[in-house]
């Protein structure tokens, strides 16, 4: 399960060597600081960016770029804008009406069931992923299919119970 659809470490290189060599050449002609390191770039390029750790390093790098863009925009506007706070400006904006009372109100305990249903279905979905990858593979087949539907059947009993107790209806 590689996140961005690249081959796993050790399998066939996804970029033809000629392209890699051309890229390395372009870098060397551009005179980058690591130009000398590209002499052996033929296989290292694939292994570094296409493998398991390389692809997750890419994810981390993209995340860091996203954080940098948001932080840069916010701190840039903070530096540029004038700041003259008054008591009215600092109150919570609530559709133009003055806010009343606290922002935190105690809710009805019946909403707990909906969160719990979410937890149950998250656990449920987590087991569907490994099941979906193997149930058609040789050596699994019908037994695995029945096992999963047994699992889903037990959880469906809980949903039937919730439905019969009118938990799911809006009152």
């Amino acid at each position: 399960m590689s996140p961005i659809g690249v081959s796993d470490e050790g399998s066939a290189p996804s970029v033809p060597n000629a392209i890699v060599r051309r890229r390395a050449l372009a870098h060397r002609q551009a005179g980058g600081p690591e130009a000398a390191g590209y002499r052996n770039a033929g296989r290292g390029y694939d292994r570094d960016m296409g493998g398991y750790f390389g692809s997750y390093a890419l994810v981390v790098a993209l995340f860091a770029i996203g954080v940098a863009i948001v932080a840069g925009a916010l701190s840039g506007s903070r530096l540029l804008r004038p700041s003259r706070p008054t008591a009215e400006k600092l109150t919570t904006y609530e559709c133009g009406v003055d806010p009343v009372g606290e922002g935190w109100a105690q809710s009805q305990v019946r909403y707990y069931v909906f969160t719990y249903l979410y937890v149950v279905f998250a656990v449920d979905a987590v087991f569907l992923f490994p099941w979906a990858t193997v149930f058609a593979a040789p050596g699994f087949g019908m037994t695995t299919l029945v096992e999963m539907f047994l699992f889903l059947g037990f959880i469906a009993l809980g949903i039937v119970y919730a439905w019969r107790k009118r938990v799911l209806s809006w009152t």
């Binding site: 399960m1 470490e9 909403y111 656990v123 979905a125 699994f140 699992f151 959880i155």
Partner: protein, 178 residues
């Protein structure tokens, strides 16, 4: 498992990242139990669980890492926040969170940690496992679950059913026992 143990004095990039993530996980876990604000405790728990998911990713347990994000960072923290919202209002600093059992709690925590660390060290000693990607994918876990661990998997559905019925009975005041 590999017999040839590389030197600890020249850690690889993965080991450094793993140590940093572990430090983040432990530090935010300490903040969870020391903060005076309940909501902040739940949010620090997100950081702790997230760092733990990063640890799993570095150990190439890819599927477990995303399960950690989906179940713990997503569902369990949502459950905790709902629990706070349903039971406490108004929210804020609650000095009543500090109990007089601090010393006892610290002793229990240290003892638990000591037992766990001893078990891990005693079980593995200097065994060295190479990080080979592909062992922690959904397919590998699926073949393991549906070949060897079918009974625990089915038992889990009964556990979820029991917890769901329990949550319904607790939150509906109009359902009474006989």
């Amino acid at each position: 498992m590999n017999e040839a143990v590389p030197s600890y004095l020249s850690p690889t990039g993965q080991e450094i990242v793993f140590l940093l993530l572990g430090a983040v996980a432990v530090g935010s876990a300490l903040l969870v139990v020391t903060t005076k604000q309940l909501v902040h405790a739940a949010l620090w728990l997100v950081v702790s669980f997230g760092a733990l998911a990063g640890c799993y990713l570095v150990l190439t347990a890819e599927f477990v890492a995303w399960v950690q994000v989906l179940i713990y960072v997503g569902a369990v923290v949502a459950l905790l926040l709902f629990g706070i919202m349903l039971t406490r209002a108004p929210i804020g600093r609650s000095p009543g969170l500090d109990s007089g059992n601090r010393v006892v709690a610290a002793i229990v925590a240290v003892a638990t940690a000591a037992v766990l660390v001893t078990v891990v060290i005693d079980g593995f000693r200097t065994a060295y496992a190479d990080l080979t990607p592909g062992r922690g994918t959904a397919g590998e876990l699926g073949s393991s679950i549906f070949r060897n661990w079918v009974l625990p998997f089915e038992a889990l559905s009964v556990l979820l059913l029991a917890a769901l019925v329990g949550a319904i009975v607790l939150s509906r005041t109009d359902i009474r026992g006989r």
